[in-house]
Symmetry: C2
Subunit: 256 residues, 2 copies
DNA sequence: CGAGGTGTTGAGTCATTTCAAGTAGAGTGG
DNA sequence: CCACTCTACTTGAAATGACTCAACACCTCG
């Protein structure tokens, strides 16, 4: 009823791409019914365990990762408020990776079947859900490419641009933002050591492309960074024209 | 009507995961209505161009890639018979990467809207489609991890295991198979140079993990390779239990 | 027979890693 | 208020794995 967008990052994020009907909002709100606090370093999901529930991130940052046999770690994704964690776990009985909190935060757990309501009742939301998943996939492949084929410096620049682009989706347009990730974590995300990340960041700062102070990071020149890292903003170029019409949503909703 | 599975890799692949109803088969066959031959080296899709059509691979191998500003190339995916090319392009107006044929082959183009029939008429096929897309995503992330965090030798081993696991999905269980990819291409897929790939393969062969002859490759010890590369067969561990029942498919089909 | 594509091998180079030492800040307890 | 500890970050030197460069072998195709 109260269609204040501001109370839910999930709704704010989705509104960014399509206009939500009241029933869409109701469906989304159902996912955020429950709330659970998380502490820094707390494990939210263990790889290998059954995937019982998915999460909406309410507050705070988290990340997905896997450990390698030799003890090294690979960070697959950083999760922000408004993100859905675990859609990509759907086709697996056992979780393919761990999820851990970076900062204090709140997550909203809901059962796997919680998506059913969306998938059966709102083709438009379903399309957006699939679309966002595919965009995330494209983003991951971009990061892969950067890590595999570019210098440490460009790779780190690419990572920062990726964070910026994703924060933008939930409305934070600013080029200066709080980055609560330590350099070992960033390294594990782009395939470098903490030492190399430190050197890359220091150099980027010396060159005037970024600025750091007090846990904040500022992207001083988006153009230069984009150019250096061959960065593409996949969220900005998302195409929603193939989505079913809202009208069809109505018909289906009535038809059930 | 003639439900010979053997005439379509797509149907054979899908049958591997769920039992297809006659109407499912009809839906899938519609995707393979048209056929177009491809030659080695032929570009099937250009990055940046509008995505008008998707493809089912009928015969032959293809691959998706992007070029970097400095001329280097990153190969994102190898496509086999039975694969759907371009599902991940759905949310983009412009293609995010190029597609090129490796060998002689046949592809079956169909318009983006060709998927609509499946998505609206068969929840079960839709679920499988989404599931397979998510599995492919997990596979890509595994390859990312291998490339970012493991040795050249392990990374190449991982790549080979990945090919083997995917061939298995369309029924080729054998550990000896034809590998029509040159070493530069493999390098571009795992983030190495052709020279490093050559050295890695030579070493793997000397160690007895693989054997090569006449364009064929044989995985001599799956266990050792799996161990070396920390390989997980994502296709084998796919969970279909969350799919809607075939019964529901019936109801929906009647309901329209 | 020559040309082009492909794979192998060795020598030298280079970017990133490893190792190590040192700085800074936050939190703790005496 | 001052050690003390922890974590995070920086910086330099040395080690190393992959890269570059280059020569050569092999095969297919004309």
């Amino acid at each position: 009823m109260a269609s204040e967008a501001s109370d839910s990052c999930l709704i704010r994020k989705f509104s960014n791409f399509i206009s939500l009907t009241p029933s869409d909002r109701t469906l989304l709100k159902a996912l955020e019914k429950d709330t659970r606090p998380v502490r820094p370093g707390q494990t939210v999901r263990n790889a290998g365990r059954r995937v019982e529930e998915l999460y909406v991130v309410g507050k705070g940052w988290l990340f997905s990762y896997t450990d390698l046999p030799d003890g090294r770690r690979h960070v697959l994704q950083i999760h922000f408020p408004g993100d859905l964690i675990g859609v990509n776990q759907l086709p697996f009985v056992q979780a393919t990776h761990d999820v851990e909190a970076v900062t204090d935060g709140e997550i909203c757990p809901f059962p796997k079947q919680g998506l059913d309501a969306i998938l059966t009742q709102s083709p438009r939301l379903s399309a957006l859900l699939i679309g966002l998943t595919l965009v995330e996939q494209a983003v991951a492949l971009d990061r892969f490419r950067a890590s595999a084929r570019m210098s440490a410096r460009a790779s780190v620049a690419h990572f920062l641009m990726g964070i910026w682009a994703r924060l933008k989706v939930t409305g934070e347009e600013r080029t200066r933002f709080h980055l609560p990730l330590n350099q070992a974590l960033i390294g594990d995300a782009v395939g470098l050591t903490n030492v190399s990340v430190s050197k890359a960041l220091t150099r980027l700062e010396r060159e005037g492309l970024i600025r750091r102070d007090d846990g904040m990071i500022e992207l001083k020149s988006l153009a230069a960074l984009r150019n250096l890292a061959a960065f593409d903003d996949r969220y900005a170029s998302m195409d929603t024209s193939w989505f079913p019409d809202a009208a069809i949503t109505e018909i289906n909703a009535n038809g059930e």
